[in-house]
């Protein structure tokens, strides 16, 4: 029973005394020591950049602000000193020039009202604005921006350039806007973030040993810029990449990468740019973007449903156009100390795949096992089906690491329960090997195999059914 008695005694003596007002205050943060030992989880965001509230999901985002968090707290840096590096950067990078594009500025300012009450005063909303302006500038007037991007089109890896152009346009717009508002602003944080974003773009679409971002986690930042080029182009790009899911990818990308090598970037990033699509996060971003546009967008705009009665109706338009944004990748932490680490490379998630030569079916998957009525993750890896003599089939799942640890290695028994569930899962029941639990190593366990798409799941399911019938 949740009844609570009165906190304070109330009598005829004290009832009309003024209570000391209790302030809401703000919470106290734990000490560094404590924080170090905590596993802080990142939340996945579903809806990026199109909040109609000021700030919205980005209230806490401080990437574009000074630590003081207030517009007034800027130190007096003149325009000239800050703008120049930007121009220099943009000129030097990939041949996309952003200098003449004050046309974009106009569209940006026009575009802003379209996004409702995107606040224009607080630094907390900068990302929203940035995205808004960046998006509109590109999406709304594809013609004008396409001129910027024509050069990139000639290169088959247009995505990288698109992202880079989007980034530059966004930054430029943001800077223009804020410097117009208040010329006495310190734009250092903006450039730090620019570096981060750029590094992540490099990482995704041109990671190399001497790219400029601090760590791997920043690589996902780049995805924000991805959708700003309009969905159609991106989808094309991504389908192109996604179709090749075997090792052929590497060769394709290598050619791209050699082309990329010739481009300079004065940020000190990338000379050898290689696109690792088959294995890394990158491709998953794009592929998931493409699939994202199809399936992962769970919010159905016209249908207000139960919970979202009022909140979401106003956002239908923007939600639809931001479909691509919906597909997001894993989060990572970001360092604000971008400036100093310009020369360092990000650690790369490259691994050499252990080849399974005689597999007749291989698919990337994530493996779960059921324990205590919930599914626990076993790992990420590649599922292979190999013939195992006697018309039997071996089901092997290796982790996607350099070691290639075996996550599951069983013979597909004839009567193995195998069901298709959810969007892209297949459930099987088998005695796990290696055992999940040393004590109960002969007990069959339900395993869930999750693959990229529902088609993949259908395919896997079908094959498993075939193979176990034998």
């Amino acid at each position: 029973m949740a009844k609570r008695i009165a906190e304070k005694e109330l009598t005829d003596r004290n009832w009309d005394q003024e209570d000391e007002a209790e302030e809401v205050g703000t919470f106290s943060v734990a000490s560094e020591e404590v924080l170090k030992n905590r596993a802080i989880k990142k939340a996945k965001r579903r809806n990026v950049g199109f909040e109609s509230d000021s700030g919205g999901a980005f209230k806490g985002f401080k990437g574009f602000v000074l630590p003081s968090g207030k517009g007034g707290g800027f130190t007096g840096f003149g325009n000239g000193t800050e703008i120049k590096p930007l121009e220099g950067l943009s000129n030097g990078s990939s041949g996309i020039s952003s200098t003449p594009s004050f046309t974009c500025v106009k569209t940006a300012s026009e575009a802003q009202p379209a996004f409702g009450s995107v606040a224009s005063n607080g630094p907390t909303t900068t990302l929203v604005e940035k995205k808004a302006s960046g998006t509109k500038a590109n999406g709304g007037s594809q013609q004008s921006s396409s001129s910027d991007c024509t050069q990139s089109k000639t290169c088959s890896s247009s995505v990288y350039h698109k992202q880079l152009a989007a980034l530059n346009c966004s930054v430029r717009d943001w800077i223009v806007k804020h410097v117009n508002t208040n010329p006495l602003c310190d734009l250092t944080p903006i450039f730090r973030d620019y570096e981060k974003y750029l590094a992540s773009i490099e990482q995704h679409h041109g990671s190399s040993s001497d790219s400029g971002s601090e760590n791997e986690s920043n690589k996902t930042i780049g995805t924000q810029c991805v959708p700003t080029f309009g969905t159609s182009k991106l989808q094309q790009g991504s389908t192109f990449l996604f179709n090749s899911n075997k090792t052929e990818d590497k060769s394709d990308k290598k050619t791209e990468s050699t082309m990329e090598k010739n481009r300079e970037s004065s940020l000190g990033a990338t000379s050898n740019v290689s696109f690792n699509f088959g294995k890394n996060v990158d491709s998953s971003i794009l592929s998931s973007l493409s699939s994202g546009t199809k399936t992962s967008f769970s919010f159905s705009p016209g249908n207000s449903g139960v919970f979202g009665k009022d909140e979401n109706q106003g956002k239908t338009v923007s939600m639809l156009s931001s479909k691509v944004l919906e597909a997001q990748t894993e989060s990572g932490s970001s360092d604000d100390k971008g400036g100093e680490e310009e020369e360092e490379e990000p650690p790369k998630a490259v691994f050499n795949e252990v080849k399974e030569d005689d597999a007749f079916y291989s698919k990337k998957c994530k493996l779960f096992y059921k324990k205590d009525n919930e599914f626990k993750e076993k790992g990420v890896g590649t599922l292979h089906l190999k013939p195992a003599g006697n018309e039997k089939t071996q089901l092997l799942v290796r982790a996607d690491t350099n070691l290639g640890n075996i996550l599951l290695n069983v013979l597909v028994p004839p009567k193995m329960p195998c069901t298709r569930t959810g969007k892209n899962n297949v459930l099987i029941v088998c005695v796990p090997n290696p055992p999940i639990d040393e004590k109960s190593s002969t007990v069959p366990v339900t395993m869930l195999i999750r693959v990229k798409t529902s088609e993949d799941a259908d395919e896997l399911h079908k094959i498993l059914l075939e193979k176990k019938e034998v």
Binding site: R4, E9, V24, F27, A43, K279, G332
Partner: protein, 529 residues
């Protein structure tokens, strides 16, 4: 309901914080202790009522002509008083007693201790019994009243002098002003604390007291007289540890019910105070009160619009709904909820707070009771407090919401969400008070549980994200309070987790006012490698 878990290791640490790790009984005990201390300290500062009347009542018969001798008994020294009282002359004794009464009635620093040290109390007590000289009964009663109105020590001196039975005898005096003085004195003595209260009861004060009201119409009594009696009765209902004997309460209650229907505002206020004291206790205490059938009248007074009456009646009703569901139901059926729209938006913060607290105990009840809250249109008012109220009121409103989400049906929770509770609720997450934060996180958890059942978690997540709540929840992982960290972390893991956990080993760089750049998580259903 709560998702907070205390790891064993954390408990020891938690116990070092003031209120953490203590269960509710322990906290209640502490609260009571603290309150008792406060009460004692306050009472020592406050003077209980003291008569400062300069006009003598009409039927004061005195061998001395007051007008002639008004100055004659003014500003005596204590020595002179002692001398007069120790004389064998009744007139002198009366003069001296009156002089003492005047000393003790002056505004500034009456020489109470001086009088006590002079050993005058037993003399005064003896004078109480002088039925042959009602003026001296009156003067000594007055003097003793004022001595008893002081500190506990001073009251003790009066009690030790044998005053209680003497005053109880005086209740039956044919002189109303004398009986009234006795009522007053007994009120002071009983108001000192549970011990003397029970002593007064033991000496048999209740019967003669109630007998004073044995008239067909209370309005026939002088208002001051009636007020004094009501006040003394309320002191007999007052104080806990122990609470007054139940049989004494049962004896008094019918009179309280009668007083509750009277029209004098002070009488009504003091009666409501008496009921608020009586209902501040265990459920069987509440039962005794509720059984008299006074709740409907109490509810009526709740809506009377007079703050001195509304305050104690709201507290009384708030106390009653801390009882059983049935007792709460009686309050609801008496129509209390109909008054709540005005209470929840009252200009007085305390009323808002008490109303929200009361509501929180109703939403802690049965689903049908929650439904009544909904039907009375109180949810928007609750949300209004969340949006802009005094923080103390907001805290209570938060409890009301959490209790609602805990006990409500899915439909009721949906209603709550549709009414717009999520955003203002989450806005309070940045509050300093970690208990409140935990309660809010509980509410969110409960709402999620409801959402899961109807497959609306996605929408809820979006809602939370869009109003900035997700940022706040994430930020809470840096809270100094371990429970808050765990609760917020659990929420994120359960409903907002990125599917790929590659970068979880990267330690966050969070400073006091900024936190990590929030990168979008993975796609909801597709899988990233």
């Amino acid at each position: 309901m709560s998702t907070n878990e205390n790891a064993c290791a954390a408990v020891a640490r938690l116990n070092r914080f003031k209120n953490k790790g203590k269960d509710t009984t322990e906290m209640r005990r502490r609260r009571i202790e603290v309150n008792v201390e406060l009460r004692k300290a306050k009472k020592d500062d406050q003077m209980l009522k003291r008569r400062n009347v300069s006009i003598l009542p009409d039927d004061a018969t005195s061998p001395l002509q007051e007008n002639r001798n008004n100055q004659a008994t003014a500003h005596w020294s204590v020595e002179e008083i002692v001398k007069g009282i120790n004389s064998n002359n009744l007139e002198l004794q009366l003069q001296a007693t009156q002089a003492a009464r005047k000393l003790l009635s002056r505004e500034k620093q009456p020489p109470i201790d001086h009088i006590i040290r002079a050993g005058l109390i037993p003399k005064f007590v003896a004078f109480l019994g002088r039925t042959d000289c009602s003026p001296i009964q009156f003067e000594s009663a007055w003097a003793l009243t004022n001595i008893a109105s002081g500190t506990s020590e001073q009251t003790k001196a009066v009690v030790d002098g044998g005053a209680i039975p003497a005053f109880i005898s005086l209740l039956a005096s044919p002189h109303t002003h004398i009986s009234e003085q006795a009522v007053w004195a007994l009120g002071n003595i009983a108001g000192d604390g549970s011990a003397y209260r029970d002593l007064v009861i033991k000496y048999g004060a209740i019967d003669p007291l109630l007998a004073l009201l044995a008239v067909p119409d209370l309005s026939s009594l002088a208002s001051g007289y009636l007020r004094n009696i009501t006040w003394t009765l309320s002191n007999l209902c007052r104080n806990k540890n122990p609470a007054p004997p139940i049989d004494a309460i049962e004896q008094i209650l019918p009179t309280l019910l009668r007083l509750l229907h009277h029209n004098d505002h002070e009488v009504l206020a003091d009666t409501c105070w008496a009921i608020s004291y009586l209902t501040d206790g265990s459920n069987d205490r509440i039962e005794v009160v509720v059984k008299t059938g006074l709740v409907p009248q109490l509810v009526k007074l709740l809506g009377c619009g007079e703050l001195p009456i509304m305050t104690p009646s709201l507290r009384a009703i708030g106390n009653i709904v801390t009882g059983t569901d049935e007792q709460t139901q009686i309050v609801i059926e008496s129509g209390a909820l109909g008054v709540f729209p005005s209470l929840l938006s009252h200009h007085k913060n305390n009323i808002q707070k008490e109303a929200a607290w009361t509501l929180s105990n109703i939403t802690a009840g049965r689903r049908d009771q929650i439904q009544r809250v909904v039907e009375h249109g109180l949810v928007p008012y609750l949300i209004g407090i969340l949006k802009k109220g005094d923080f103390k009121s907001q805290k209570e409103a938060v409890w009301a919401v959490t209790n609602y989400t805990s006990g409500g049906t899915i439909d009721q929770v949906v209603f709550l969400v549709q009414a717009g509770v999520v955003e203002p609720l989450l806005n309070l997450l940045s509050a300093k008070d970690s208990k409140t934060v935990l309660v809010i996180l509980d509410a969110i958890t409960n709402i999620f549980l409801a959402a899961e059942k109807i497959d609306e978690t996605e929408r809820l997540c979006l809602m939370i994200e869009e109003c900035g709540g997700l940022d706040k929840i994430e930020a809470l992982q840096s809270h100094e309070n371990e429970q808050v960290y765990k609760a917020s972390s659990n929420l994120i893991e359960k409903y907002f987790s990125a599917e790929e956990e590659e970068d979880q080993n990267v330690l966050p760089d969070s400073t006091a006012d900024s936190y990590n750049f929030q990168i979008q998580g993975s796609t909801p259903d597709t899988f990233n490698f």
